[in-house]
């Protein structure tokens, strides 16, 4: 479903190449993990896929279900089924969490030619999803992410994912900042969304998350490229030995 071919990206304002030819294909129903040293370009990849400003694609392609992602506005990508759980979720003072979620859900439905959900249905839907993620009603009432703890912000990302039901989910370090229990909640949230039609790209530094969200494929990214791809064992190897061996081996 997600097909990235030889993707090359530089910063718009600086002559700095960040992605130097990324190849990656995520099939429906599969969970791919990306690990890699700090600064290797993992977040950049997720931002470029979701359409953030500030980057220039200098080569390659990225498509979702055959649609050229790079040609779409961020909102069109979302409507096409792409979702990014941000490494650093954004605070939006003055916009209530519920308003935000409802506006997003209805905008996506509208883009897909569906009717808006009624206020009642929406409330029911969110309450149910929030409950499983242990997000209380008070948090739902607050402005988006304002005053949320790091872990609460991450859980809020997963709540959005659960409500919007995207087909291609990218999770950028959703495990960082989570305590052990929250990690389990988030993993359960992700696992409950796993199905044949949905793909996942999970960016993480730690094997811990992958204990809960079992990946089918693990990629190692370094210096703007995927330098190694393997099975779940690859994550265990990184956990044990770090990146030195892999980097040396592919250098």
């Amino acid at each position: 479903m997600l097909e990235i071919k030889n993707l090359q990206v530089k910063l718009e304002d600086e002559d700095k190449q960040i992605l130097k030819g990324v190849d990656l294909t995520v099939e429906p129903g599969r969970v791919h993990a990306i690990m890699g040293p700090n600064g290797s370009g993992k977040s950049t990849l997720s931002y470029v896929l979701s359409g953030r400003d500030g980057y220039t694609v200098t080569g390659g392609t990225a498509s979702l279900d055959g649609h050229d992602l790079l040609d779409m506005e961020p909102e069109e990508r979302a409507a096409a089924g792409l979702f990014l759980a941000f490494q650093y979720p954004v605070e939006i003072p003055g916009v209530g969490n519920m308003t935000f979620l409802r506006t997003a859900l209805n905008a996506q439905r509208k883009a897909r030619g569906l009717d808006e959900v009624s206020a009642g249905e929406f409330l029911k839907l969110v309450r149910e999803k929030a409950k499983t993620l242990k997000i209380d009603a008070e948090m739902l009432k607050r402005p988006v992410n304002v005053g949320f703890s790091g872990g609460e912000k991450k859980r809020n990302e997963i709540l959005q994912m659960a409500v919007l039901e995207p087909t291609m989910c990218i999770l950028d370090e959703t495990d960082s900042g989570l305590d052990v229990d929250a990690m389990r909640l988030v993993a359960d949230g992700v696992n409950s969304l796993r199905d044949e039609g949905r793909g996942f790209l999970v960016i993480t530094h730690y094997q811990r998350l992958l204990d809960h969200i079992k990946p089918d494929v693990v990629h190692i990214m370094a210096d703007g490229r995927i330098i190694k791809t393997g099975g779940p064992d690859l994550a265990l190897e990184v956990e044990k030995n770090g990146y030195a061996d892999i980097l040396a081996e592919t250098a």
Partner: protein, 434 residues
């Protein structure tokens, strides 16, 4: 009374010419106040660009003998607050329209038209008409308010003795491209009484309005207004409020469009533990006509333990200009004052500008006063976050604009009124995407 702003022959001649062009009503009970006001105006003279409080706003169109033309804006939008149960009084180009208005009877409230008092020599409003305006001329001269007191052709005199059964709504319609309206309202809220006053509409090509509000002990006055959408209209409005002990004054103004608006609000807190809040949200798009919006606020704390808030937000694009001049004066002895002032502008492009002059003058030592002013653009990170969740750019921008305005709108206590204001805003934003 303020000293003459400048001994300037040109100014005096212009002022005399303006006065000569005025149609001065006889007055009845207000005759003396009108004569006094005329004297004040003569002494002050009409303002010019060189006056300190007119640096950012050009008063010439307001001062001109004739109202500059302003096209009438046709809209099929429903009346603001139309769904609220209220008493409606309609002014068409500054002339009271009895047929379009409700009866002037309302439980807890006594309403008289100013124009009907031309032969009334004794009236309760005698203690109020022009009185607060005259007090408000010190230390800053407000010549257009004096002109208004002298020349107002009509207005309403509202005495509130209990809790008003429903809001009083003044609807200002603009039907003639050359109309020049001067209205003067007085509201007296007696001890413990309560009124909500609504004002909506463009009123005229040029509108000069004064609202004097005297709130006695424990009285409450809520004011919500939406200035009309006519692109070319001009307005100079003044609120003069005197707030007694334990009383509450809350005013909110929404301004969209209008080529020139100056809203002055002069509040004087004279009794302990009183509350005075004034807020405004202004949105202007230079693409559909010039937009110049000026909020000039002066609040005097002259009592102990009082709270004042000024919350002003402006959203400007395509060469629109926003002005904020706000002052908090804490007099000696006004201890435990809690004064807050914020003025913020959201500039949607680089052509627009916001000019702010916040001032604090404090003569008491045990007070808490803060003021802040910011100018910023749309938060691109927040915008991307919203878009990444599927919210289209225009809608996301509108959401961020509404969130920017939220603190000002929160000053409206009545939820129905606040909701109505929000839906007006949403409609305005939806009409001009991007």
């Amino acid at each position: 009374m303020a000293a003459p702003m400048r001994k300037d022959d040109g100014r005096l001649a212009a002022t005399e010419a303006r006065i000569a062009a005025l149609d001065l009503p006889k007055g009845g009970f207000s005759a003396a106040a009108r004569a006094e006001a005329l004297k004040r105006l003569r002494a002050m003279g009409l303002p010019g660009r060189r006056d300190e409080y007119w640096k950012y706003t050009d008063p010439s169109a307001l001062a001109a003998n004739e109202a500059p033309e302003a096209a009438v804006f046709a809209t099929d939008e429903a009346q603001v607050f139309g769904a609220v149960d209220r008493l409606t009084l309609v002014f068409q180009d500054g002339v009271f329209d009895a047929a379009a208005s409700d009866d002037l009877t309302l439980a807890g409230v006594e309403i008289t038209r100013l124009a009907e008092t031309a032969r009334t020599d004794i009236h309760w409003a005698q203690d109020l008409y022009g009185v607060l305006e005259a007090r408000g001329q010190t230390p800053v001269a407000r010549p257009f308010a004096a002109l208004n007191t002298a020349a107002a052709s009509d207005g309403v005199l509202i005495r509130v003795s209990g809790k008003a059964a429903k809001p009083v709504h003044l609807v200002y319609r603009h039907g003639s491209p050359l109309s020049d309206a001067i209205l003067h309202h007085c509201v007296k809220v007696e001890p413990g009484a309560e009124l909500t006053l609504l004002e909506t509409g463009p009123a005229a090509a040029r509108f000069n309005k004064v609202l004097e509000v005297d709130i006695a002990e424990g009285g409450k006055f809520h004011h919500v207004r939406a200035q009309g959408r006519d692109h070319e209209r001009r307005a100079i409005t003044h609120i003069f409020a005197r707030i007694a002990g334990g009383a509450l004054f809350k005013s909110f103004t929404l301004t969209v469009n209008g080529q020139m608006t100056r809203n002055e609000c002069v509040m004087e807190i004279v009794g302990d533990d009183a509350v005075a809040h004034v807020a405004g949200a202004a949105l202007g798009d230079g693409a559909t006509g010039r937009f110049h919006h000026d909020d000039t606020i002066f609040i005097t704390h002259d009592a102990v333990g009082c709270e004042s808030r000024q919350v002003f937000k402006k959203v400007l694009k395509n060469g629109a200009t926003g002005v904020f001049q706000g002052k908090i004066l804490v007099k000696p002895g006004a201890q435990k004052t809690d004064g807050y002032q914020i003025s913020q502008a959201l500039l949607l492009d680089e052509d627009s500008q916001f000019l702010a002059k916040p001032e604090l003058e404090i003569y008491a030592d045990d007070v808490q006063c803060s003021h802040g002013s910011t100018t910023g653009a749309i938060d691109e990170t927040a915008l991307f976050y919203l878009r990444s969740r599927g919210v289209p750019r225009e809608e996301a921008t509108a959401l961020l604009i509404l969130s920017f305005l939220a603190d000002a709108i929160a000053e409206i206590e009545d939820e129905r009124l606040a909701d109505d204001i929000v839906s007006r805003l949403e409609a305005w934003l939806a009409r001009r995407k991007g």
